[in-house]
Amino acid sequence: MGTRVRSAAVAGLRGLVLAVAGLAGSIALFVLSVLSIAFVVLGVGALTTPWVLGLVRHWANWRRVVAAEWCGVRIPATYRPFPDDLRGGVVGQAERCRLMLADPATWRDLRWLPVDMTAGFVTALLPAALIVYPLEGYALAAGLWRVFTDGTYVGWWYGFVPVSGQGTALLAALLGTALLATGLFVAPALLRVHFLLTRSVIAPADGELAERVRVLTETRRDAVDTSAAELRRIERDLHDGAQARLVAMGMDLGTIEALIEKDPARAKEMVARARRSSAEALTELRDLVRGIHPPVLAERGLGDAVRALALRLPVATEVEVAVELAGRPQAPVEAAAYFAAGEALANAVKHAGADRIWVDIAHIDGMLRISVTDDGKGGAAVAPGGGLAGIERRLGTFDGVLAVSSPAGGPTMVTMEIPCVLS
């Protein structure tokens, strides 16, 4: 019973906040939006609209947050992201205006504003009223009725009870009790109705699916970009490196052929040079292979590959590697996990100034989980263009996620999870 009273009281309070703030906010934003969009034809609107619509999005996002927190109603946000190369200044702002107006989510938001200030207001106010209004009934019974009447006429209506004296005031208290009892049972549900109403207007019918498609499109684009860049790098490295050295070697051998009888000393010198070129070509090919698919990874799998990587770190940092894998993930997942772990290790060595690093690799509940912890100075963050953002993109291709905990002063813990099966 105690929890029921509490949750009903909380629902009433929240309903009140939603009703008051919602009414004011939605009316203000609706008026602003309509004016701003109307002024787009005059030009000025193109500059103000993105700003106003940005406010509308914040407003809607606040509702999404409280819907999830207060009633567990998930309302997906499906705004289209802006392209990365959006220009600044007036041109960029106009472009942003065009993109926002072309986004169906914007129009759903705008449609939602009038709904929120009417039906939304009522559904938010109801739970509040059911909790607050009975208090007035008790106040009337307790003597407030005297303010309205001297007992000879109906001075005040409480609900459908005409209050004209102490007797009817007691009836008002009785009605209040009935309302309160109802409120105790239905207030939380009513608040939920408010959020369901919100969801039905601002979430697209296929919201989660659309969101999923958007994420997949994005990660696929990242994957395609990354592999194209990788191919270009390999081609360039081969072309400028090993290939060029082999050509030079062939030329040297040709020269040697001509010199071998005329000038044996010089020919011998060139043989040594050709041998050096072949050794260098091999070194370059080896480095290239390591960058594409590290040999230890191919031979032994993730655990030993990370161990070998830890041994190759250029500084005397102690690295402990613990591995709990019953099999091997698919090759692309394995490679992504390896390079991500490598990047995290390199970060710990380069930026954290750590003395010790712990790497844990395990497969739990269908997730390959790798955590890299160091005792360095912390302060690591996922910044655009940074190494951690690179890991995030790489993992994103496989629906993997990255979590970084790195308070200033350390320690830093980077956790990566990729859903996969072992074989």
Partner: protein, 217 residues
């Protein structure tokens, strides 16, 4: 001296056979897969085995695994492992049993036939032959640590060559100094590292590697 050779690429196997024969080795068997290697090592009892890390049928580290298994059967069986790349992880596994008679070299080392043959002979005699790249990584990693930090650059250089498995005479030749000077350097190194002096080449390499290994994961 009888050699068992395992290498899956025909060109390389053929080249190695020719080279070893040119230096008066007897090729007991030249095989191309892991199971064949295991069989040859068990039946032919060679003086030394030269083994490629990656062998069929698995095309992973089958050669290394066969060599390690054969050495468990017959401790001290001399094995020289060749690889397209060298990893400290594998070097440690080879050295782990501490019985000597192991080598781990990049395939490129066959370019210098004299040095390569020297390495094969050293391994066959129970010594070690570690690739300079492995040793270089080890030394650069540990150089920041206090006890190694106490070594002079020259002493570090000598330690590096010593860790590869070279004798004092070979180190002296490489650095163009007298053998006496090297002997002095090595005793200084042992003193600074707190290692008991020993004139067994193999033991001193193992001692150095064990020292370098200390504290690493």
């Amino acid at each position: 001296m009888r050699v068992v050779l395992a290498e899956d690429l025909f060109l390389l196997r053929d080249g190695l056979v020719r080279m070893l024969q040119a230096y008066d080795f007897e090729i007991a068997a030249a095989v191309e897969s892991g199971p064949e290697l295991t069989k040859a090592l068990a039946e032919l009892n060679p003086d030394v085995a030269v083994v490629d890390v990656r062998l069929p049928p698995s095309h992973t580290d089958e050669g290394l695994q066969c060599a390690l298994a054969a050495r468990r059967e017959r401790p001290g069986l001399p094995v020289l492992v060749l690889s397209q790349h060298v990893e400290q992880l594998y070097a440690r596994e080879l050295l782990a049993d501490g019985t000597g008679g192991v080598g781990y070299l990049l395939k490129d080392r066959v370019f210098d036939a004299d040095q390569f043959i020297d390495a094969v002979r050293r391994v066959a005699a129970g010594g070690t032959a570690m690739d300079p790249t492995v040793i270089k990584e080890l030394l650069s990693r540990r150089a920041a640590d206090p006890p190694l930090g106490g070594l002079t650059p020259r002493e570090l250089e000598v330690l590096g060559l010593m860790a590869q498995g070279r004798s004092n005479a070979a180190i002296a030749a490489e650095l163009v100094v007298t053998e006496r000077a090297i002997a002095k350097h090595t005793s200084n190194i042992f003193a600074k590292l707190g290692l008991p002096v020993s004139d067994d080449d193999n033991r001193r390499v193992l001692a150095v590697l064990a020292y370098l290994d200390r504290g690493a994961a």
